[in-house]
C-alpha cells in the first residue's frame, strides 16, 4: 500500500482540510470534515471505506494503531504483539474459565493478524438470520454477488499444494484414516508459499489482508487513513450523529484532541470496542441490547508429539479443516504457533517444558473451534470495555468431545503423546487414553480457552426491540450512525467470520450510497 494519504499522528497539520482551533487551556484541537468517517480499518471498516470512496464520497478512516507494511513483518512475536495487537493480544473475557482473545490494532485490523480463512456465511446461518432475526434481502441469491466481489479482491482460493506443510498433511491423514470429512481451506491468498507467520503479519505479502486490498482501493478513490487516532466520543446533536472525537496518542506522552465531523459515521472497531464506544458515548438502544449477545467461538489447542520431523512452521497455517462434526458444533484444524506461544500455554515449566519443546519440530498443534450456544456481554466501565462470558455445560461437553476427537485424529496420524489444554488431566499416550479423556469430568476452570472470533454485540435484525441495528447496520433510533463489523452478527456462524464481515460491510455500503444519492427530505 502506498503511504500516500496515510497520515500518522505527526502529520495532522499537513492533512488537507484540517483546521486547528486554538484552545487556551486544553491545547490545540484538530478538526476535519468529510462525508463519512469510518472508525476502524479491519474487515468491516476497510471494505465500507473502499466501497463508499469508489461511490464518490469523501471518506476518512480512523485507525487506533499504526501503519505497518509487508516489509515490516517478521518472526519477532514480541514486536508483532506490541505493534499489531490490542493490549499485546492479552485481552480476556471474564468467566470460568476466562477466555483469552486477540484483536488487531493496526492499519488493516484483525485481517493483518488472522489466519486468512475465507468462508462464505453457511446456508443455515443465512436462513437463521433471515427467518429468526428478519434480516432483509438476506438469502444465498441476494448475497452471491457480494460474496463474489469480496472473494475477487481477496483472491480467495485453496492453497497451492506445495505450500502445505507436514503438520496439515498429518491432520488430514489422521482424519482420512478415521473416515472423517476434511475440506481444503479457502484462504485470502495469492500464491501463499506457506510461511506460517499469518498471525504476526504476512511477511511475503501473499495474504490479501485489507492492508493489500481494500485499503489501497479506498486510498485510490481518495479516502484518507489517519493512524494512531483513538476515538473516545461520538459527536451528536440529540439523535443526529455528526462525527467522532478522540485523542492522538503521542509517543512522548503528549496527547492532542481531534474531531472529525461527518454526515455519516461508521463504527467498525470490532465486537468489543464498537459497543464500548456506543456505550461510553451515552447512546441508548430501544432494545437495551448494546453490548449483549457476545459470541466468540471458544477454541482449545492440543500439542501432539510425533516421531517424525514435522516442522509445522514450514507450510501454510490451516490448509485443511476437519468438517465431519460441523453439525455437532465444532471444526478442527492444524494451527502451528511459534515455540514461545506453545511454551506459554503448556501446563509445564522447568525440565518438563524444556524436554517437550526440544521436540518442537516434531509437534503438531491442533485446534478445535466450537460454535457456542451461549452469549456474553460487553460493558463499558470508566470508558474501558469489560467483557464477560460464561461457557455453558453444553459447550463444556463440546470442548471435551471435540478435543477427544481431535486427539483420535492425531493418534490415527501417528502421534505418540498429546498434551491437553486441561489443567490436571494427564497427557494422552495412546488411542486408548482418549476414552479416558471422554470419561473425565473436566471442570470448566481447568480449561485453557482462547479465541480470535469476537461477534455479535450490536446485533442486526428487523425488530428495534430485539436488535440494535437494522438489516443494513444502521443503529436504531439514531440518524447518521452505521455499524459495519462482526458486532452485527445476530448469532455465531460456526466458521471463520472474515468474509461474512466483509459481505455485510459491502451491503451496508451499498445501502449508504443509496441513501446519500437521495436528496434529504424526499
Amino acid at each position: 500500500m502506498s503511504p500516500h494519504n496515510v497520515y500518522s499522528r505527526a502529520d495532522w497539520p499537513q492533512i488537507p482540510g484540517v483546521r486547528t482551533r486554538r484552545r487556551r487551556f486544553q491545547g490545540d484541537l484538530y478538526e476535519l470534515s468529510c462525508d463519512v468517517v469510518v472508525v476502524g480499518s479491519g474487515a468491516g471498516g476497510a471494505v465500507i471505506a473502499a466501497e463508499l470512496a469508489e461511490g464518490g464520497l469523501d471518506v476518512v478512516v480512523l485507525e487506533e494503531g499504526g501503519y505497518y507494511a509487508t516489509e515490516d513483518f517478521n518472526a519477532d512475536v514480541t514486536e508483532a504483539l506490541a505493534n499489531l495487537y490490542r493490549d499485546g493480544g492479552a485481552q480476556m473475557a471474564l468467566g470460568t474459565p476466562p477466555v483469552t482473545f486477540a484483536e488487531g490494532r493496526c492499519v488493516g485490523g484483525s485481517t493483518v493478524i488472522n489466519g486468512g480463512m475465507t468462508w462464505r456465511t453457511p446456508e443455515h446461518v443465512i436462513r437463521r438470520w433471515r427467518e429468526d432475526h428478519g434480516v432483509h434481502d438476506f438469502d444465498a441469491h441476494a448475497l452471491l454477488p457480494h460474496f463474489e466481489r469480496v472473494e475477487g479482491f481477496l483472491s480467495a482460493k485453496t492453497q497451492d499444494p506445495e505450500s502445505i506443510g507436514r503438520d496439515n498433511a498429518l491432520l488430514k491423514e489422521g482424519a482420512d484414516a478415521l473416515g472423517y470429512e476434511t475440506v481444503s481451506n479457502i484462504r485470502n491468498q495469492l500464491h501463499c508459499p506457506g510461511s506460517n507467520n499469518c498471525a504476526f503479519g504476512c511477511p511475503t505479502g501473499a495474504k490479501q489482508s485489507t492492508l493489500l486490498t481494500y485499503l489501497p482501493r479506498a486510498l485510490h478513490f481518495g479516502a484518507r487513513i489517519l493512524t494512531h487516532c483513538r476515538v473516545d466520543g461520538i459527536l451528536r446533536q440529540r439523535k443526529q450523529v455528526q462525527g467522532v472525537e478522540g485523542s492522538l496518542a503521542d509517543p512522548s506522552g503528549k496527547t492532542r484532541r481531534f474531531r472529525v465531523h461527518a454526515k455519516e459515521t461508521v463504527i467498525a472497531c470490532g465486537a468489543v470496542q464498537s459497543p464500548n464506544l456506543l456505550l461510553r458515548a451515552g447512546l441508548r438502544s430501544p432494545s437495551g441490547k448494546i453490548g449483549h449477545g457476545l459470541t466468540l467461538h471458544p477454541n482449545t489447542k492440543v500439542v501432539a508429539l510425533f516421531d517424525e520431523d514435522v516442522e509445522g512452521w514450514k507450510g501454510v497455517h490451516q490448509a485443511y479443516q476437519v468438517r465431519e462434526f460441523e453439525g455437532d458444533g465444532f471444526v478442527m484444524a492444524a494451527v502451528n504457533i511459534p515455540p514461545s506461544l506453545v511454551a506459554m500455554t503448556l501446563p509445564y515449566y522447568g525440565r518438563d517444558m524444556i524436554e517437550l519443546l526440544d521436540q518442537y519440530n516434531q509437534t503438531v498443534i491442533g485446534g478445535v473451534l466450537i460454535e457456542d450456544t451461549t452469549t456474553g456481554r460487553v460493558r463499558s466501565v470508566a470508558g474501558l470495555p469489560v467483557t464477560t462470558y460464561q461457557i455453558t455445560e453444553e459447550d463444556r461437553h463440546r470442548i471435551v468431545r471435540g478435543t477427544a476427537i481431535l486427539c483420535e485424529v492425531l493418534f490415527a496420524a501417528g502421534a505418540k503423546r498429546i498434551v491437553l489444554p486441561f489443567a490436571g488431566v494427564p497427557d494422552l499416550l495412546s488411542m486408548a487414553d482418549v476414552q479416558r479423556l471422554r470419561e473425565t469430568d473436566v471442570p470448566k476452570a481447568a480449561m485453557e480457552v482462547v479465541t480470535v472470533h469476537i461477534m455479535g454485540t450490536l446485533a442486526m435484525g428487523d425488530d428495534p426491540t430485539r436488535h440494535v441495528c437494522d438489516s443494513y447496520g444502521r443503529v436504531y433510533d439514531y440518524a447518521g450512525l452505521t455499524v459495519a463489523d462482526a458486532s452485527l452478527f445476530p448469532t455465531p456462524i460456526g466458521v471463520n467470520p472474515m468474509e461474512t464481515i466483509m459481505t455485510l460491510a459491502t451491503r451496508c455500503a451499498i445501502h449508504l450510497l443509496d441513501r446519500f444519492a437521495v436528496p434529504a427530505g424526499v
Binding site: R238, K239, Q240, D463, P464, T465, Y478, A479
Partner: protein, 191 residues
C-alpha cells in the same frame, strides 16, 4: 411509496375487524407493533380522512375516544392535517362528525413532517411526526402541546396506521397514549 388501497376505504364509516382487534391489544403489544412500524408516505395520506380512536383506559368513556384526522397539501407541497370531533356512539357504529358530516368542525391543526433527529421532537426517528406546535393553531390552544408519531401497521400499506401521542411540556416529551387510524373517506378540504 405505500400502497393506497382505493377499494378498502369504507364510505359507510364502520371500523374494520382488524382495527377493532388492534384496539384491544395491550400497551406492550402496541409498543412492539409501533417499534416495528415503518414510516407512512405523507403523499398517500393527502386528501384523505382517517377514522381514529384513542387506545387508553381513560379514553373509553371520554368525549375523544373516537375522532377523525384529515390530511391535505398546501400550495407549497407541504402536508398538513386537522382533527374533527366525532359522536361517541360506540366503536361498532359509524364515525359521525360533529356537528354534522356535511359541516364538520375542524380543529387541532398540525404540520406533517419527517422527524428531525437533531430536534427536541425526535422520540421516534422512523415515524412521521404530526407537530401541533407548528400547526398554526391559536395562541392559547391546548392542542399546541401535542406531538403525535405515526407508523404503518403493515409495512406496505398506508391504510392502517398506529400513532403514539406525546405532550411537549417544556423540554420534556411525556408519552400519553396510542391511537389508531384507518382510512375513512376522501376529502378535498384545504385550509
Amino acid at each position: 411509496m405505500g400502497v393506497q388501497n382505493l377499494d378498502a376505504p369504507t364510505n359507510h364509516g364502520l371500523a374494520s375487524a382488524r382495527y377493532l382487534e388492534l384496539g384491544e391489544k395491550s400497551k406492550a403489544e402496541l409498543e412492539a407493533i409501533f417499534r416495528r412500524g415503518t414510516k407512512p408516505d405523507p403523499t398517500a395520506l393527502q386528501g384523505w380522512e382517517f377514522r381514529g380512536r384513542n387506545v387508553a383506559w381513560w379514553a373509553k368513556r371520554s368525549p375523544i375516544l373516537k375522532f377523525v384526522k384529515g390530511f391535505y397539501q398546501d400550495a407549497a407541497g407541504q402536508t398538513w392535517g386537522y382533527n374533527i370531533p366525532q359522536r361517541q356512539n360506540g366503536l361498532e357504529q359509524p364515525w359521525l362528525a360533529k356537528p354534522s358530516d356535511e359541516d364538520p368542525k375542524r380543529f387541532g391543526f398540525y404540520l406533517v413532517a419527517d422527524v428531525d433527529p437533531a430536534s427536541k421532537d425526535n422520540v421516534h426517528l422512523d415515524a412521521l411526526l404530526l407537530d401541533y406546535g407548528r400547526g398554526r393553531n391559536p395562541l392559547l390552544d391546548a392542542s399546541k402541546v401535542l406531538r403525535d408519531y405515526l407508523v404503518r401497521v403493515d409495512p406496505d400499506s398506508d391504510d392502517l396506521l398506529l400513532g403514539k401521542a406525546y405532550l411537549a411540556l417544556g423540554p420534556s416529551r411525556v408519552p400519553s397514549n396510542f391511537f389508531l387510524l384507518e382510512r375513512h373517506r376522501p376529502t378535498s378540504w384545504v385550509r
